[in-house]
């Protein structure tokens, strides 16, 4: 499969001298659901801004679907839909007009844009609000409106910068389902998010950016495989008085029905269940206690910061 995005030696220095990007390299496969993670100020939005032509790059090259961004900018733009971090639509326009206008700016006739806008507004649960002013929508609805607007021209690639910020859990899950559906239909999705569980739930591949450099660029599965230890919480059906010896690093009885076990790489939960069953303890449900990706993310970023500090030390 060909690449949707290829970034080589991308650099950005803002007026005033801030180096936001220090020669990043990135490849995103067509059809991928890709996460770009990083702490605030790491360079995520700058990278996305350059991809969307909202930020001028200082050096390097960007190719989108095998077309050079500098040479074929208008064509590249026509292949991309953008959902930015901040609300950037005219709040004094009716909801449907926000989507229809955007379709027009991508060359659609008003009739075609309206038809498509209505389809998308229905899918995103905004159809009943279509004639109201955009400013009257709730925060979650405004986010969904921006997704509808980004999709109106049927882009091959959708870029979402913190799309679920400020959205409640139920709506967030709904948006996850929607994004998963359009990804399955072939749309390449690039996502930046602060909700790391969101990246873990949705994305197949991931890049972690810190201080303008890519510190990790791999598959989600491979990244999570780097975890050395995980903690699981097990809920017993019956009351438990004491815990037997188990093939784990450590185990704790939190209360009469809640057990915590720490597993290192190579240790399996099935061994834990076997021992517990042997002692008459039946586990009804369980969950992963730690946010695994968050743990990894912090570790990678801290390692990178430490390496940078060591390099800069005289």
């Amino acid at each position: 499969m060909s690449n949707a995005v290829e970034i080589y030696e991308l650099e950005k220095t803002y007026e005033g001298g801030t180096r936001a990007l220090k020669g990043i390299e990135l490849a995103i496969t067509e059809g991928d659901f890709f996460a770009l993670l990083g702490p605030n100020g790491a360079g995520k939005s700058t990278t996305i801004g350059i991809l969307c032509s909202l930020v001028n790059k200082t050096a390097g090259s960007v190719r989108v679907f095998d077309h050079d961004l500098d040479r074929d900018r208008a064509w590249v733009k026509s292949q991309i839909g953008v959902v930015p971090q901040e609300f950037n639509f005219n709040q004094f326009e009716p909801v449907e007009e926000v989507v229809i206008n955007q379709g027009g700016f991508y060359g659609m006739t008003r009739k075609a844009a309206k038809k498509r806008a209505h389809e998308l507004l229905k899918q995103l649960g905004l159809y009943d609000k279509r004639e109201g002013m955009a400013r009257a929508l709730s925060g979650g609805m405004k986010r969904r409106l921006m997704i509808a607007r980004a999709l109106v021209h049927g882009p091959r690639m959708l870029i979402l910068d913190e799309p679920t910020a400020g959205v409640d859990i139920e709506l967030r899950r709904g948006m996850w389902d929607f994004l998963t559906q359009i990804n399955k239909q072939g749309t390449t999705i690039i996502l930046t998010t602060h909700y790391l569980e969101e990246a873990e739930a949705l994305c197949r591949n991931i890049a972690i950016i810190n201080e303008g450099r890519i510190v990790e660029h791999t598959s989600m599965r491979h990244l999570l495989g780097k975890l050395s230890q995980e903690t699981f919480v097990l809920y017993s059906r019956d009351s438990v008085e004491s815990l037997p010896e188990m093939p784990v690093v450590a185990s704790r009885l939190i209360d009469n029905e809640t057990i915590e076990v720490d597993l290192t790489r190579g240790q399996e939960l099935t061994g834990v269940f076997d021992v517990l069953r042997g002692h008459g303890i039946v586990i009804e449900r369980m969950k992963n206690k730690t946010n695994r990706l968050e743990e990894l993310f912090l570790r990678l970023v801290q390692d990178d910061d430490a390496a940078t500090n060591a390099e800069e030390r005289p």
Binding site: D72, W75, S78, H153
Partner: protein, 278 residues
């Protein structure tokens, strides 16, 4: 429904081939959409955009035409109230074309919905054309409304229809481009009123709206010739009344040169992303 769809608005070139983005038909659709949005925008707020210049013009006719005009008599063989008409109409065209571009584009920058255009495949020239067309639409619409008001006070005549529309159209294009340049550089709301207040209004008032430069002393006559708005207003006055302080060709020369310079300048600003992209 599939989210992905192929549109005939886009150019479908293969990898490695030069690709243009919007097709001519797509570009036309984009232009129409932007112009429609602009017209709806100033139409929605007609109380702020269309009504004030109509009231202002009525007041000018009452004060300068009816109260002061009879004491002045005629200028170049035309009653003073009739002499005022072309200048007042064109003054509205100038201020409204400029105001539409500067307020609409700066508003879009301020609220960040200018990004809707910047991420779209619309080339810079097409975005400029859309905003300029919006400014022209407002300038000519208000010019038309002011003409209706003028009909209540004075007898209207047209010496040359072609020049009438030619000068009005080119004037609105030039000042819509000017408003766009102002909006690109503006970073605060204060910045969009500086040029209209301290440059446009004085130049317009001193550009022969209310008088002929032949009424001035030699020094001020010569000084007035450095005011480009003088040529524009007199060109329009020639189109309506057949009288002018300057030859009509100088009006077109000023307008044409001004449009070319302003367009190339704003195009450079857009292409380099000055005031628009990080």
């Amino acid at each position: 429904m599939s989210i992905r769809s192929q549109s005939d608005a886009f150019d479908h070139q293969g990898p490695g081939e030069k690709a243009i983005g919007l097709t001519p038909r797509g570009a036309w659709n984009a232009f129409v959409m932007l112009l429609t949005r602009e017209v709806l925008r100033f139409g929605r707020i007609w109380v702020q955009t269309v009504l004030p210049p109509m009231i202002m013009t009525a007041l000018y006719f009452v004060v300068f035409g009816h109260l002061i005009g009879p004491r002045i008599g005629e200028i170049d063989g035309v009653p003073y109230i009739q002499y005022l008409v072309p200048g007042l109409i064109l003054m509205s065209v100038i201020t409204q074309s400029y105001a539409n571009s500067v307020s609409s584009f700066f508003g879009a920058k301020f609220a960040r919905h200018v990004e809707e255009l910047l991420v779209s495949p619309m080339p810079s020239w097409l975005i400029i054309l859309g905003y300029v067309a919006g400014g022209v639409a407002r300038g000519l619409a208000v010019g038309g409304a002011v003409t209706l008001v003028a009909l209540l006070f004075a007898e209207l005549s047209v010496h040359s229809v072609l020049n009438l529309f030619g000068v009005a159209l080119m004037t609105s294009i030039l000042f819509a481009l000017g408003g766009l340049i102002n909006a690109v550089y503006a970073t605060h709301f204060d910045h969009i009123s500086i040029v209209p207040t301290f440059v446009l209004t004085p130049l317009t008032y001193l550009g022969g709206v209310f008088y002929s430069i032949n009424m001035l002393s030699e020094f001020w006559q010569q000084a007035s010739l450095y005011n480009p708005i003088l040529y524009i207003i007199n060109g329009f006055r020639y189109a309506m009344l057949g009288i002018s302080d300057v030859p009509i060709w100088s009006t077109y020369a000023i307008l044409a040169v001004g449009i070319v310079i302003a367009y190339l300048y704003v195009l450079r600003l857009f292409r380099n992303g000055i005031g628009l992209r990080g």
